[in-house]
């Protein structure tokens, strides 16, 4: 199962990286969400995958490693806060710049003007 699990993380990472490199804000947010899935699963994986072994103290039970779970739980919530913040940032970008391009303006060939070509310090 570990191979499959590793493959899943690889695929999630691939899709996440690809989407977060896109030129418009919404796919980037989706990409970041996929990346956070991958990272959370990776962290979870450090405790290995055990069946029917929830870390709830009961008489005569086997337990999985609770520490990665605690880490992942906080990571999920932090990722949620980050996603929410980034998506609102995307809204703000569109409101301020009138574009949902990550640079605030498209650099596609149809718009040859590139205001960011020469940044001033």
């Amino acid at each position: 199962m570990a191979i499959l699990f590793a493959l899943l993380i690889g695929v999630l990472t691939t899709a996440g990286v690809y989407l977060s490199l896109r030129a418009q804000t919404f796919p980037v947010v989706m990409g970041l969400t996929l990346l956070s899935y991958a990272v959370n699963l990776f962290l979870f994986g450090t405790g290995r995958m055990a069946s029917n072994a929830a870390a709830v103290i009961e008489p005569h039970a086997t337990y999985t490693d609770p520490l990665p779970q605690a880490l992942v739980l906080t990571a999920i919530v932090i990722a949620f806060a980050m996603t929410a913040f980034v998506i609102v940032l995307a809204l703000k970008t569109r409101a301020e710049l009138g574009s949902d391009h990550v640079d605030g303006a498209s650099d596609a060939p149809t718009h040859p003007a590139e205001p960011h070509k020469k940044p001033t310090c």
Binding site: M1, G10, L34, G47, K117
Partner: protein, 935 residues
């Protein structure tokens, strides 16, 4: 010894008071500064009185015990000497400055900065811990920046302050590096240990780097060649600042460090060459240049350079007697030079100029000031019966002892001769001779209180000159033995040592100096045509300009202001760096065999494959945003199922509720963004896909490498102690709210900050929806079926959330999940009713929930401190309730309640803020229509 800590901290804590009161009542600033300095002096006396200062008195508090760092102070002879100089001269300066400052200058700002500076200086000389010493060292640079640039409206003050900060800041960094290396070699940052490890340090291969780095700090601070030029430029500061910082204290900090590290770093050839060389060059350069400066303060600045060079040279000799001479001259220089700076300030104050070409004949108008100036200048020139003479004699003796030939004694006599010449010039050109006709004629003596500090200093010069052994023998003995970390050598401070070589050198210097002064006109002419044209500022400016241009070019080369290439290269380089790190480890089998390998399970495998295809699907259909978003939440659902499958019920619940809230959030946001992405260039898409594939493969290999080997976990500790110490059965929850409660507290703070950030971002935002118009009309936007169902569901959802919250400590659940469930319930209600007004009311309540939650969590933590336990220590008790039965009630549950409030408040705040955007629009359309809208 607690008085020592109070001594250092008092100036820092009183500075804000001086600023606050001084801004309201003018004299209050100087008053506070004066009495605080007096109190510090008293504290120093208390600390030193009963103590046996032949050994350093150390007082320390644990700072970062894990790496052996203490907050520690020490009092020994050397720090006593320097603290005394800092406080006594400081007291005189404060009196003087009160009368010096013009009505339009802010005394509040001046004295507050001065107190900060004084505290920082005391911190340097009283530090036992070296890291702490460097921190105070940096604080002197910062506070001196404030003081030099006190007259902010003047260009030269700003430039001078910036130059001083640049150089001393650079030196401070170097010093930090040197101290870190030193601590690494010795194994401790405590001076008591370091001072006894001289042999270890000198034998270390890191000795030379340590020496050079520390000397960079010393030379920049004490304005030694080639970093000397900031000092004359810092003369744009008000004169009390120059008198205090640039003659008596800050520039002596470098000397202090030389003396402090003397037992550790001296005694090598490198020390003699570097320290002695820089000292000699600065000594000669300062002495000769001072004569040709026409500005009184310029002359004093270069003269200060020369005397600092002299002391550095003495340190460079590296003998115990040279240490005696050096520290003795340091005291003497502080007295006469501070007095002369004050005289220069008085002259400037009364005549409006400091140009010696215009000044003259002032002795007629201010005879008392003139007398004081003559005595102080004579001490500077080394005239017998004054303190400067004595230390200069000692200096000559050491110079003769240190050299085998005649070159060094000759150079030293030459420098001394020049110092006689510029001392004569200071007096003669100012107080005698013919004044420039445009000088005002109604010049008079300054206020008495401006003269009293000068008088005290001058009397000290005389008294020390007449009875040196009586006045200075004791403190010199103490400070020298502290500096040497060994008993002080026998030395004799006497007026008369018989006709010997040093006396001959003194006489030659005095006569030669007079001769130089008489021939100053052709000399000045020659100087101005040759050496005077060289200016150390030019290379400094060149280096600064080159650095600026270099960084601009570098930035422009990499940062084209476009995110996509930058993100691409950041990812690519990060991956490459990881690869290099991986390859550099000695070859070990990448994959191992975990004895606990998970058995294959067909259903789960199918689910995982499905998740993979969904994830890949998103990459292909991401341009169809709504569809992609729904598929994305499918993947999220898969993740929570995986958590269920592999024994993580808490994670599954959290993931599921986060998924719900995120989906609503993204759907709400998508309404204001284009519904489809525009296609991109095929080349970019191809490269991005390639990089993503490589990184994904790397992640998969890494994961498998990690999963396929055996491991030892620290889980046992948590499993064993969860019930006995945390009072909870659910170990994951106990870790969150108890064992690692501090992390959780930080995390909910982040969540609260994110929510507030979103609140601020969406303030006054103007956005029109880009989603296609709703198919149904607004009346049907809230279907009755949905409304009715919500009415029924709401209490049940809330009850379920409360249940999840309460059971969290003992069964899967807890504050995080309950908070999200409550938020979803509130959203469901909002969507069904569709009343923006509700949103507004909710949003204000969400603020309160955020604050309440944070306070609750913090309060739980503080309560345990109040009870004498570390922050967030949990306590619990077993209760037998009727009906419900036995339960463990832990104080950590209060913490979990705080988590619940924060999570609920943050989620609701985020969601309602986005909903509220609609409220500002003319065509209010509801969320539901959007949810129902087909793609």
């Amino acid at each position: 010894m607690n008085s020592l800590i109070a001594l250092v901290l008092l100036p820092f804590f009183s500075a804000p008071f001086a600023a606050w009161f001084g801004a309201r009542v003018r004299p209050a600033a100087a008053g506070i500064a004066f009495f605080i300095t007096l109190a510090c002096l008293l504290l120093l006396g208390i600390s030193a009185w009963g103590a046996d200062l032949s050994h350093a008195q150390v007082v320390s508090f644990s700072w970062i015990p894990l790496i052996g760092l203490d907050f520690a102070f020490r009092l020994d002879g050397l720090s006593l000497l320097f603290s005394g100089i800092i406080l006594i001269i400081g007291l005189l300066i404060i009196v003087y400055a009160q009368y010096y400052l013009a009505p339009k200058d802010s005394p509040a700002r001046f004295f507050a900065s001065l107190l900060l500076f004084m505290g920082a200086m005391l911190g340097i000389v009283l530090s036992e811990n070296l890291i702490q010493l460097v921190i105070f060292w940096e604080l002197t640079s910062l506070s001196s920046f404030l003081l030099i640039s006190f007259w902010q409206h003047r260009q030269d003050a700003r430039t001078g302050a910036r130059m001083a900060l640049t150089l001393t800041g650079f030196g401070g960094l170097a010093l930090l590096g040197g101290v870190l290396l030193l601590g690494h070699v010795v194994g401790s940052f405590n001076l008591s240990v370091v001072l006894n490890a001289g042999d270890v340090v000198r034998a270390s291969p890191l000795y030379l780097p340590i020496l050079i780095l520390i000397l960079l700090g010393v030379f920049t601070k004490s304005a030694q060649f080639p970093f000397h030029f900031w000092l004359p430029n810092a003369m744009a500061a008000p004169t009390p600042v120059s008198a205090y910082l640039h003659s008596a204290t800050m520039v002596k900090a470098g000397i202090f460090l030389l003396a402090r590290f003397f037992p550790v770093l001296s005694g090598t050839e490198a020390w003699v060459i570097l320290v002695g060389g820089a000292g000699l060059i600065t000594f000669l350069l300062g002495a000769t240049t001072a004569l040709f400066k026409h500005d009184l303060k310029g002359l004093l600045a270069y003269s200060t350079l020369s005397h600092l060079g002299l002391i550095t040279l003495l340190m460079g000799f590296g003998t115990p007697l040279a240490m005696v001479a050096g520290l003795f001259h340091l005291i003497n220089h502080a007295t006469f030079k501070a007095a002369l700076f004050m005289v220069a300030g008085i002259v400037d104050h009364e005549t409006g100029t400091r140009d010696m070409r215009r000044l003259g004949g002032l002795a007629r108008h201010m005879p008392r000031t003139a007398l004081l100036a003559i005595i102080a200048a004579s001490a500077m020139a080394g005239v017998p019966l004054l303190n400067g003479f004595l230390s200069k004699e000692l200096f000559f003796t050491e110079a003769l002892d240190a050299s085998t030939g005649w070159v060094l004694p000759l150079l030293v006599t030459l420098g001394a001769g020049f110092s006689v010449a510029y001392s004569i010039r200071f007096i003669h050109d100012t107080f005698f001779g013919e004044p420039s006709p445009d000088l005002p004629t109604n010049i008079h003596e300054p206020p008495l209180m401006m003269r009293v500090p000068v008088l005290i200093l001058v009397v000290t010069c005389l008294a020390v000159g007449l009875a040196p052994a009586l006045l200075m023998g004791g403190i010199l003995n103490l400070s020298v033995s502290a500096a040497l970390n060994a008993p002080a050598p026998a030395f004799s401070l006497a007026l008369w040592h018989g006709f010997n070589a040093p006396l001959m050198m003194s006489i030659i210097a005095l006569l030669g100096g007079l001769l130089v002064y008489l021939t100053r006109r052709p000399l000045t002419h020659g100087y101005e045509r040759t050496l005077g044209r060289l200016n150390a500022k030019t290379p400094y400016n060149f280096v600064l300009r080159a650095l600026q241009l270099g960084s601009e070019t570098l930035t422009q080369a990499f940062d084209q202001g476009r995110l996509q290439p930058m993100a691409f290269w950041t990812l690519a380089i990060t991956f490459g760096a990881g690869l290099i790190g991986f390859a550099s480890v000695p070859a070990a089998p990448l994959f191992g065999l975990d004895p606990r390998a998970t058995p294959f399970d067909g259903i789960t495998a199918t689910g995982m494959i499905l998740m993979m295809s969904l994830a890949m699907g998103i990459a292909f259909i991401h341009a169809q945003r709504l569809l992609a978003l729904l598929v994305l939440s499918g993947v999220g659902l898969g993740v929570s199922l995986l958590f269920v499958r592999y024994s993580a019920p808490d994670l599954a619940l959290t993931q599921l509720s986060v998924e719900v809230v995120t989906l609503i959030l993204m759907l709400l946001a998508l309404r204001y963004l284009p519904q489809q992405s525009t296609p991109e260039r095929a080349k970019r898409v191809g490269f991005d896909a390639l990089l993503a594939g490589i990184i994904g493969a790397g992640a998969a290999i890494l994961t498998y490498a990690m999963m396929s080997r055996d491991f030892a976990s620290i889980a046992g500790y948590f499993l064993e102690n969860s019930l006995s110490q945390g009072g909870g059965h659910n170990v994951v929850n106990v870790i969150l709210v108890d064992f690692r409660g501090y992390d959780t507290f930080g995390e909910i703070s982040v969540l609260a900050l994110a929510a507030l950030g979103i609140y601020a971002l969406l303030q006054n935002i103007k956005l029109s929806p880009l989603a296609p118009p709703p198919i149904t009309n607004a009346r049907l936007a809230h279907p009755i079926l949905l409304q009715t169902a919500t009415h029924l569901l709401l209490p049940m959802t809330l009850l379920f959330g409360a249940y999840i919250l309460l059971r969290g400590h003992n069964a899967p659940g807890g504050g995080f999940i309950a908070g999200l469930i409550f938020a979803s319930a509130a959203m469901m209600q909002l969507i069904a009713q569709g009343q923006p007004l509700d949103g507004r009311a909710l949003s204000s309540k969400a603020h309160s929930a955020l604050a309440l939650g944070l306070l609750l969590a913090l309060g739980t933590g503080l309560a345990s401190i109040a009870l004498g336990y570390p922050f967030l220590t949990s306590t619990f008790t077993h209760l037998n309730l009727p009906v419900i039965g036995g339960v463990e009630i832990a104080s950590a549950m209060m913490f979990d309640l705080g988590v619940f409030f924060v999570v609920m408040g943050a989620s609701i705040l985020m969601l309602t803020r986005i909903v509220q955007i609609q409220a500002h629009e003319p065509h209010t359309a509801s969320v539901t229509t959007h949810l129902k809208e087909p793609n």
